[in-house]
Symmetry: C2
Subunit: 429 residues, 2 copies
């Protein structure tokens, strides 16, 4: 037994990881060198799905990160504290860390990677994004030879499940959310998922890796899916689109040094590779020069998938421990101290889909067109789709426009006497 693990947490991911490591037949032979040495849990009395001897299981998590015998600390407890403090303490003690904790990395990544670099150890986080999908390692070790132009992902399974069901069943958001909660696909408090916060954490991590700079999480623009209506899904369908919650990190075409990093529901052309990613699956599309487009697809959550990602990080560290010298491996360390410059959302250049409810008066479409024209917003299509009670419904799709200009036009349109309301505003990929 060469490599001793101290695992923090024995929930879904921890249990899956222990199960994988307890049954190494048919897996990489190096896993046989790995010993589950300590597992830290909150309660020793809770019944467990895995068998662990009493000297392995402990409620003293600090003792694990301070134990000189532990080589690698595997943080799979989740939450911000005490996870952050335990990770930092482990690093300070010269231990490598594997974590599945996107929230901690997205918020405290700078502090954590600085501590790791100072201690000469590595922090691995394959499970933090995309569940089982290998995407962190390919970004660091393979795709980093490219000039990355965009990373676009469906990185939250709960919202993709909800949107997929809304689309296939024609149901509305509240009903599908309630059913998803009943089935265990959504949490009792669904905020982190449906408001896009989980996806924001993940795109901050992917952007940091793809573009080689740190990201202030508060710079990430974030809009969830609560306002997506079945009406818009149906109209999008007719126009050749599906609606997906996309997490996007992209080089601003006009200002090359600035990025746009954002999470929002998005109209995606049905022919786009991300359009057919349904249910709880995740996918991450990377675009770069000279590679073009590559996409990674797989289960975005679940005990087994996440355990695979956690274990692959353990495997890589175990291999490193066999070969390591005093020189750090530049593919494993975080080599960037600078922050990426992120453009405010008003600077985004994108297409928009908007739905208006207007009084049934002649010339409304003309007034809309004039207002948009005054702000340089060029329209791709304007369709009066029908009536809702006594109001005419008009769906507009624009060409590429600066978001700030579009918003100004919209503010003016909102004040037109003919306009009742603007129930929907969505971006188009």
């Amino acid at each position: 037994m060469g490599v001793k693990l101290g695992i923090l947490g024995l929930g879904t991911v921890g249990t899956g990881t222990v199960q994988l490591l307890q049954n190494v037949i048919g897996r990489h032979p190096l896993l046989q060198e790995i010993e589950i040495y300590r597992v830290g849990v909150r309660s020793l009395d809770k019944p467990r799905a895995v068998e662990l001897s009493t000297e392995i299981l402990t409620a003293n998590l600090e003792a694990i990160v301070n134990d000189p015998a532990v080589d690698i600390v595997v943080e799979v407890m989740g939450g911000l504290e005490p996870a952050r403090s335990l990770i930092l303490q482990a690093l300070k003690n010269g231990k490598h860390v594997v974590t599945a904790n996107k929230a901690v990395i997205a918020r405290f990544g700078a502090e954590i990677f600085t501590a790791a670099n100072q201690a000469g150890v590595y922090v691995m986080l394959e499970a933090a994004v995309g569940g089982g999908i290998p995407v962190i390692q390919p970004l660091k070790q393979s795709l980093s030879v490219n000039q990355i132009n965009a990373v676009t992902g469906i990185v939250n399974g709960t919202t993709n499940y909800i949107l997929t069901r809304m689309q296939t069943e024609g149901s509305n958001f509240d009903d599908v959310l309630a059913d998803a909660q009943r089935l265990g696909y959504a949490e009792a408090d669904p905020t982190a998922d449906v408001d896009g916060l989980d996806a924001a954490d993940k795109i901050a991590i992917l952007a940091s890796l793809g573009f080689g700079g740190r990201i202030h999480l508060e710079d990430v623009y974030c809009e969830g899916i609560r306002q997506v209506s079945k009406t818009d899904i149906a109209y999008a369908e007719k126009l050749g689109f599906v609606i997906k919650l996309l997490a996007i990190a992209k080089r601003q075409s006009n200002k090359n040094s600035q990025l746009s990093v954002r999470v929002h529901p998005t109209l995606v052309s049905k022919t786009h590779p991300l359009a057919s990613i349904n249910g709880v699956y995740n996918a991450i599309l990377v675009e770069g020069e000279p590679i073009g487009q590559v996409m990674f697809f797989g289960p975005g959550a679940g005990a087994g998938a996440t355990a695979s990602a956690v274990s692959s990080d353990i495997l890589n560290l175990a291999a490193t421990l066999q070969t390591s010298t005093a020189n750090p491996n530049p593919l494993f360390t975080c080599g960037h101290d600078d922050y990426c410059e992120i453009a405010p959302i008003a600077e985004l250049v994108t297409r928009f889909y908007t739905r208006f409810l207007t009084k049934d008066q002649p010339g409304v479409i003309g007034k809309l067109g004039t207002c948009f024209g005054n702000y340089g917003v060029s329209l791709e299509s304007v369709v009066q789709t029908g009536f809702q009670e006594k109001l005419a419904e008009i769906v507009v799709v624009t060409h590429d426009v600066r978001e700030g200009d579009f918003r100004q036009a919209l503010a003016e349109i909102r004040d037109l006497p003919a306009i009742d309301s603007i129930p929907s505003l969505l971006r188009v990929l």
Copy 2:
């Protein structure tokens, strides 16, 4: 300049790789440590798309692999010889090797990896399968913590392009092939692509990595797409399938130690992730426990994509050269000496699609059913689809059946007086 490359070949892939390495801005900073030290070509007089000084360009390829200053030999010349001998000589001289040469690895992998292990150096081959798609490294370094059950790929862009066009246009094979040759998507001699030989090389490599054993290339069952007709594509479409040339390596469900490794045109359900991979794109689907299904999608060929894969191998070796000790990294070496046991195709258990032309007699379907029943072949659907001249056309889809039993039934059916011919026989995923 830390790491000196000796590049063998300056065709499409070599040129793409030089272009990438000559323009390192925005790429991984470690690439700045890499020097294009020698580039070996057949003819020094040929005009080149890249600028290289006269001391770099040489026609003496052996001098490159024997030059003590060269750290990494990058073999992007293709073909079996002299590529194989040069690779072996480079390894013998203690140089790491990066190769894009699936044909050499699939045929001489055992010899090459043995030589590498003896010399304590690495052979990297990301570009050998799937063009730019990172799949070799994820299989070795991430997915290897899983028990792999199947690797299924669309790994030949030319045949996927031809089949996609046959499907969208309703054209027949010969016409699309001729057009593909005119457009440069197929070679003047298309044998390696359309007969499945290129895909067979690639699946042999993927199987070896996925299942941790060497593969005798002659054990790989291989069937190309020449016999795929527009008629079958149309019937498949009606039944809810598309036809793809799949390369499959799979654990036999009944005999767990045996693999089936094969290339053949296959009916794929339209809801399957591989069904929507069109044109020259490649995709590789990996199934394992506990991860479930993950899929990698991207450009399967082309200068830029392949250069990305070659350069990622160079990057990984450069990182290794900074940190390496005498101990080999077990994620980079080939750790298996044994060969996988591959089942003969007769032992395959699969579903079949078959099209019969029969004389228009009553009771033909009954006779077919009886014959199949005698050999334990259970039918999912039998449809008389229409007439071709005076012959009735019948399309049969079976449930899972042992291929040997199915073939025996078919041999007996072929002798029935009512049967005119059996123009199509395809497997169903």
